[in-house]
Symmetry: C2
Subunit: 450 residues, 2 copies
Amino acid sequence: MSSKPSTLKGTRDFGPVEVEKRNYIIETIRQAYLRFGYRPIETPAMEKLETLTGKYGDEGDQLLFKVLNNGDFLSKVKPDLLDQRDSHAVLPQIAKRGLRYDLTVPFARYVAMHQHELAFPWKRYQIQSVWRGDRPQRGRYQEFVQCDADVVGTTSLLCEAEFLQIYDQVFTALGLQVVIHINHRQILAGIAEHFGFGDQFREISVAIDKWDKIGRDKVMDELSSKGLTGDRLPDMLDLYESGNIDSLRDLQPTGTLAEGLAQIDEILSYVDTDAMKQTVRLDIRLARGLSYYTGCIFEVSSAQVDIGSISGGGRYDELTSVFGLKGTSGVGISFGLARIYDVMTELDLFPAKAVKSLDALFLCMDADSLAHGWRMVTGLRASGARVDIYPELAKFKKLMKHADQRGVRRIVIIGEDERQSQLYTLRDMNTGEQQKLSIDDLRSLLVADS
Amino acid sequence: MSSKPSTLKGTRDFGPVEVEKRNYIIETIRQAYLRFGYRPIETPAMEKLETLTGKYGDEGDQLLFKVLNNGDFLSKVKPDLLDQRDSHAVLPQIAKRGLRYDLTVPFARYVAMHQHELAFPWKRYQIQSVWRGDRPQRGRYQEFVQCDADVVGTTSLLCEAEFLQIYDQVFTALGLQVVIHINHRQILAGIAEHFGFGDQFREISVAIDKWDKIGRDKVMDELSSKGLTGDRLPDMLDLYESGNIDSLRDLQPTGTLAEGLAQIDEILSYVDTDAMKQTVRLDIRLARGLSYYTGCIFEVSSAQVDIGSISGGGRYDELTSVFGLKGTSGVGISFGLARIYDVMTELDLFPAKAVKSLDALFLCMDADSLAHGWRMVTGLRASGARVDIYPELAKFKKLMKHADQRGVRRIVIIGEDERQSQLYTLRDMNTGEQQKLSIDDLRSLLVADS
């Protein structure tokens, strides 16, 4: 290797403070999932390519990372395919593994595969990395962590209500102000039907989902180009523009639309939105791209930082059927760790305790002091304190520079005086304040702190 | 997908109880690392192939998982290479990414890349998955978790002593009895030199490392076949057979051997092995295959279950030099999660608290009771209890079967009586014992338990 070492574009290292802050978010989410009866599973990073392919649309298939078969991978490829340089046809002959693209498909595969061991309704959470070959750009990575929870095997709308409560508890615990947008695929379908566009429901959903990014006029253009015409198109867009629940009720809905609205009403009847710290808003322009949603859909945005969606989810009726398990309705949500991290960083919301820094670093002035300090550190660690010792003899200036670079809160200085008196100098690195403490006082202070 | 869904050979799913037990081990290791001043980093699963290639020997290069470039990957391959079906030469043209094979090389890459941000001696721990294309077999997987800690930038033998203490604390906390074998590469080199085989040190290490598996005679055969001859070979093997520190001192060592022994003596002088719960043993037959070790080496085996090494490590002087950072000595250890899990399972050592089961599951007899139970569950969760509710109406038998399948410790039954009296039936599912509790008593019981 001649060049400087580096990571792949779209991937990144996390240093100690980043890992600990990320773990603080993860732990907050995890504790909420546990309180609501969700239990963890983990699935392999590599799945059979056939498990992943065809689940995310053509674009998703392109973005899947495929893992090359080991050994002489070309030996089994049909010669004419190589001659034609047909990457698409060669692929399945040289790669049988892919990296998971999300946690939903592996979860569906898990449920279908282990269905006879599971007690339905079955609740699981899963916090793992996923990989996508998107073009790397600011805030978009090829490897990122998702924090999912799903419940399958029941159509009870109490599940949707639980997710509203989980959102409320998690974001409140993190100190964030968010808006939880909810909508229902049957509301979207019902609106399309009402205006005579029932057959173009899918195109409408895709276009409406982009409303807040591209605006009404471009949505109109997109729908016109897809063949939606007539006076009823602007009427429908008026409704979407108002985004208003009353306008929706004014339509005196029947059928699909009425069903969607009734479900939203039922869900909201289960939660005391007034007592919630976060805002829940019926947002009829919320569509979510993923085609597998069939019921209620969720999306959460920060009320403080304009960064797009920080969580999303919804109900799906047939997710596991592609793996042979039919009639198993489910609903789930996913927190995007990276964006929540970015919002919390921008708002400076991480508490000091999120970062597990040392309780104290011991700096020793001579060989006898180093031996003395080592015994103290050994005892303190055995008592549970997080302490460290500079393990070599060095000039005081170098020791202090090390303590400073390392960002430790406190140092304990040991020289001949301290050894003789058995009173040790503790310095607070932020305030510069110093005090002399016995080993017992030092232990009480540091262990209480850990 | 017509066939039944499945995972790839060599990979596996982890269900809730497995994940929680694994996390219990991880958390025990993590807390020890933190107490000793180690801080976490995380590196990407995918590294540049050039970062990984050539670091693990030819066999390792074979076992690296390579990730296919996205898009039309064949378009840039030189035609003659395809014609010759030269997998080896085609590889770098179609794959620039690899999955990490261990945590040591990514760590060395990290240190070299971020050297100007780090305060040396620098301590990091890292707990992540690694991937190897080994042939899958019982107890050997293609994806597994390693739990590493390393310190770089100091030659102080206090670091080696710390690892002995970490081993002692971690395995004691897990309830295991282990033997911590230590040796030193200079002892191995010194023995070879002493018997006139200094140039064959590497071959001797490789053969001796297998002693406990294949026995003295086969080690002798292997060394003879490598060109080691003469009377001094059996003499050397006698020494290895005795495995005895006194026989070693009887050689009246000088030079390399004396240095190695002196380092071991110094390390042991820093720890009070009598006070340790685990056994430390100088084991001159311990060699460890990895060629980058230059100083003290460690290996831990269970004293209770014959399963091979459950942790290993050692000092290396030039690990980061391949990435351009020279003269940075380091020492590290790695815990193998899967084997520790297997030993603990065999010995039934997981405490009940390792598994985060529900505090209680609510079962409701009718629609009004379900609404009532839902409000109770909502309040209990907000208070921190881990509770769940069966979210539909169902026959009592079905509800009980669900509670049973789910393995919950306690159920709360709510019917008309309970609603009226506001005294709720709590049943212990293990003992069958029932009691009637008010909501306040229920809350005290369940929240205290969480």
